[in-house]
Amino acid sequence: MQHYFKKIRVFVALFFMLAFIIAFSDIKGTLPSWYYNSFLYLQFVPSVLKFITPGHILAVGFIIVLLFTLAGGRVYCSTICPLGTLQDMVIFLRRRFSPKSRLRFKKALTVMRYSVLSITIVSLLFSGMFALVLLDPYANFSRIGTHILQPAILWVNNLLARTVPETGLHVFEYRPFHVASFTISAGMLMLVFIMSVFRGRLYCNSICPVGTLLGLVSKLSFYKIQIEPASCTKCGKCQAVCKANCINIKTLEVDSSRCVACYNCIPACNDSSIGYIFSGKKILKLNEPASDKRRRLFIATIAGYLASKTLPLKASGKPGGNRVDKGFYERGTVSPPGSQSIEHLHERCISCHMCISACPTKVLQPTFLEYGFTGMMMPKMDYSVHFCNFDCTVCGEVCPTGAITRLTKDEKTVTQIGKVVFQKEICIVETDGTACGSCSEHCPTQAVKMVPYKNGLTIPHTDVSICIGCGACEYACPVTHPHKAIFVVANARHEKAQKPQAEKIEHVETDEFPF
């Protein structure tokens, strides 16, 4: 029976991997929100963050993962975690290229993995999400998908669209290249690639904070992968296929804190001597129970994290709207609708870039230092790339952490993320005396409205009360020097805009043609 476990594991892992690949391939933005919500539901860190965001009591994916871990160890790491599956794919290919290579038992990097976990927890308390942003396996994979996989898919799509019109494909624009995000994604891909080629799941057992945390939990699990010494012939076949390097064939011990429950060892054993064995069952050399010291660390981990959520966090986003001097505005950085405030982003966002990947207009771009160093790579609105589509609520629908809360269309269209500022002195209508109206043309609420001006011209007039800060006016403004004549100043904390009011138009039908 247990011989099938590996096949099931591979199937589930590929299922989740395929779900990710489909999401990154959706360049036309046709996937419904339930798609993202379902396959991201079990991602551990996003689920924890969403659960502690008010109104997301049903985001219990992480509890399900913990229950699985208590039942049978780190199954998350070999099925749901996309970075884990990516490493498994590398390991699989490596074995194809050099089939004679064998994996060996290695000592656990105990100091390193608990240090990284501790640093992550401590930094959550004092400097926000930054360590988690860099280390969370899901966030890392999702960034690799957004900045490496998706552009590659787009390149193939565009090549096919141009060369084989019969495919009916259309050419799509590339997202602007973001140096920091690409460098970090590519660097992490390289690191994980090299580690997995030489040492299997080393990343998961030395760096990954989720792996280390689940490793602690799996010490308590009911069923563990163990060796039955009575029937074991010490042939070492299990050890040779153990990606986590956690089977010690000399002592017949399996380090359950490092075992990623990949089940490679089970079919490798000719004598059915390795597999899930109930932890309570007395066998010759039972693993030591979790020591008090470690248990304390584990409890401290959870307690520390939850405490961090109740303490106010320092966020370094700049509030906007302060006029500094002669026409220069401290414009701030506009955060996406649903993110509530830059502070909220700092408390929840792990920069997985799922929103950036799914944003149909590409107005969502990663930051560099706009939100401060610890807010690096979090999403911002970049009105030089595009403007926010009035009816669109995609970013909040795909966000797995609650950093961008889900808005209905009615909520979104009155969520004010920034306010319009018009500088008449540099407007075309004023400087050149010619018609324009590009800003008002794009304004979805007519917060920017063309009103009569000199010589039969019309000039923009703004009404901040109905402005939602979508940036359409700023994007469309043809003025480039010294800067746009109309632009959005960020609301550090989002506000509520009025709904535009309209009276019915009187229409009198006539029988005569007017010419």
Binding site: K28, G29, R162, H170, V171, F172, E173, P360, T361, H386, N389, F390, D391, C392, I428, D432, T434, A435, C436, G437, S438, S440, E441, H442, C443, P444, T445, Q446, K449, M450, G456, T458, A476, P478, V479, P500, A502, E503, K504, I505, H507, D511, F513, P514, F515
Partner: protein
């Protein structure tokens, strides 16, 4: 005036052979005051649905076969600028666009291409305007207007301000162009009609806005004139254009105007809208450049009430 010559010839041939192939042909010949009168220059229809009005109007001009020959490639250029539902009238009516594509296919067109260089994100505009579905079910094909590689630099010899601009290959390469604007109020250009609609076939609209919008609109109208202009004034955005805020901005006027002359089309439409043509500066500028005429009295206009 190639189109007019063609129409004269085709009607002449019809008369000579003594067979009236279509009711439309007969109507125009008699309705305009006899066999040898000038052909219809402009058709204005009111009171029906967009498809019904188009069927009547195109018949008056001798049917789509008078414009589209078998095996030709046709560009139908509606306004698909906005991510808005059809009832908002921010985009050309999808029923009308579908009907035109259907007529082109029935006339034997090899390909019927539809696109716009949209303002909102293009896939949403194509989808939510209803135009993509209407075009595909009528046998046409949607192409993107957001691929810069599809645009070629051209010179505009008669342009006063706009000397060169990048134009979409579908506009440059198609044998027949059917321009299908929706009549709307426009905050910057006063009105958006057939000449303004051609802004959707160029790449850099910012240049136009920076360098006298009205003059650029008129300049580009001299470049390559559409074979036929169909102004959709079924649902009309009376204010807050060109995007509009809600359906409250829209009035159901039920008009349709067909003519090969862009200036005449826009002049007639402006009058339907209820303002003077002189209020829309690019109409007068285009007339000065010889694009067409604002003097509707000199034209043979066929007026139909359904």
């Amino acid at each position: 005036m190639k189109r007019r010559d063609f129409l004269k010839k085709s009607i002449g041939a019809t008369v000579a052979s003594g067979t009236f192939l279509s009711l439309g042909g007969m109507n125009s010949a008699f309705g305009a005051g006899g066999f040898f009168a000038a052909p219809v220059d402009l058709v204005a229809v009111k009171g029906g649905g967009p498809e019904v009005m188009f069927d009547r109007a195109i018949a008056e001009l001798g049917g789509m076969k008078a414009f589209v020959k078998a095996g030709q490639t046709v560009l139908v250029k509606p306004n698909i600028g906005w991510d808005a539902a059809p009832e908002r009238a921010a985009n050309t009516n999808p029923l009308l666009v579908g009907k035109i594509v259907e007529h082109c296919k029935n006339a034997g067109a090899k390909r019927v291409i539809v696109f716009d260089n949209t303002c909102d994100e293009w896939t949403r505009c194509y989808k939510n305007s209803g135009i993509e579905a209407a075009v595909k079910s009528a046998g046409g094909e949607m192409v993107t207007g957001k691929d810069e590689k599809m645009y070629r630099e051209v010179t505009v010899p008669k342009g006063k301000v706009l000397k060169t601009t990048k134009v979409h290959q579908a506009y440059l390469d198609s044998d027949v162009i059917i321009n299908v604007p929706v009549m709307k109020n426009h905050g910057g250009a006063t009105m958006t009609l057939s000449m303004k609609n051609l802004m959707g076939v160029v790449w850099d609209r910012g240049f136009w806005h920076r360098n006298d919008l009205h003059q650029c609109i008129a300049d580009f109208a001299t470049f390559k004139k559409p074979t036929l202009n169909v102004i959709d004034a079924f649902n009309v955005m009376k204010r807050n254009g060109p995007r509009g805020v809600s359906v409250d901005d829209v009035v159901n006027m039920k008009y349709l105007i067909l003519t090969p002359d862009m200036v005449a089309a826009d002049t007639a439409a402006v009058k339907v809208f209820g303002i003077e043509p002189s209020a829309v500066k690019h109409i007068g500028l285009a007339e000065q450049l010889g694009v067409g005429t604002t003097k509707l009295d000199n034209l043979n206009i066929k007026r139909i009430t359904i």
